[in-house]
Amino acid sequence: MARNPFRSEAEAYRFLLLTVGYFALIVVAASIATWLGFVVFVALTAAAVGLWLRSRSSEPALKPAVPPRPGAVDERRILVIANETVGGDELLSIVRSKAEGVREQVLVVCPALNSQVRTWASDEDGARAAAQRRLDSSLAQLRSHGIAARGEVGDGDPLQAIEDALRTFGADEVVISTHPEGRSNWLERNVVGGARERFDVPITHVVVDLEATGS
């Protein structure tokens, strides 16, 4: 199967032998007839790409290495992932209800959403500043309701932001807040389904309709 040839010398050596075989077949075929060389090139390349794709899809799903859960046993650790909906009433009410009657620790993560071009150019300052403003306002609201919450700006990819937060926060559950279906880019990208598949933590999905509430 296709393996990463640059992880060890043995894999690199194996890759070299495969490369020798690949080009030897193409050269032999091309020496018989040019068109045959081209056909062999296309066939071998397609086979190599196919094997590589198959090996990628058969890889077991990556599970994050969640550190041992910090904090006391009777404490409930809630990780909230939200961006534009971070100050929504529905989200505040669900966090309030989950924090009711327990010693809660709430971490709110605002992914620094950015355009692809700006991400590639490492131009993240604006996105992070905007996320920080939304986060500050949301934290102020949560604290005004007596919820002990802290927050941080996360990676622009919401799933990556969850994984980063889980590594340090060790949540009992994750709350993902999105716009309603049709207006939510995260729902279109199946962020909630992806999170349920990728993380071994209960995931709650909250829909916040900012237009309906006039927020």
């Binding site: 990463n4 043995a10 050596y13 490369t19």
Partner: protein, 199 residues
Amino acid sequence: MSAHAEGHHGPPIANKSSRIDSTVLGMFLFIASEAMLFGAFFTAYFFVRVVNPEAQAWPLEPFHLPVYVAGVNTAILLTSSFTMHWALQSIKRGNRAGLQAGLVLTLLMGLAFLLTQMLEYARIGFNPSDGAFGTIFFGLTGLHGAHVFVGLTLLTVATVRAFRGHFTPEHHHGVEIPGIYWHFVDVMWIVVYATIYLL
């Protein structure tokens, strides 16, 4: 805000915003930059071929490439990859003599490859200034030769360290990395040789 008092001492935990290990990512980026560098030269080479569609044989007259000499040189380089692999396998089994012998043989064969290429340059009968083909030929093979030189430098360091007893079956990272690089150089030569000399 009680979560701030979670008892972590020392520097803050690194924020890992990537699912790829940083060392592997570094190697990927290096290989990607190398692929783009060689890719630029190959693009120029194929452009030269495409704009000469009437050519019955390649390269065009009056250029002649020493295919067999380069073939022997290819065999030398491939054998050096085998000795490199043998050197690594030896130290993994605790065989230091095998490691030393493998590295010395790899080094000698790499030197032989470079010397043969220099002799080829001296006798090939055209210069980098003799048209686009001459420029691309010397550019591509010279670029590869520069990589062989870098590989030989890494191997020299690894060989000296091997004779000083720096490597053990558990700790041989200083041979593993030059080994990966050396195989990469060989892979690139296979592509260069097959494309320029044979196809």
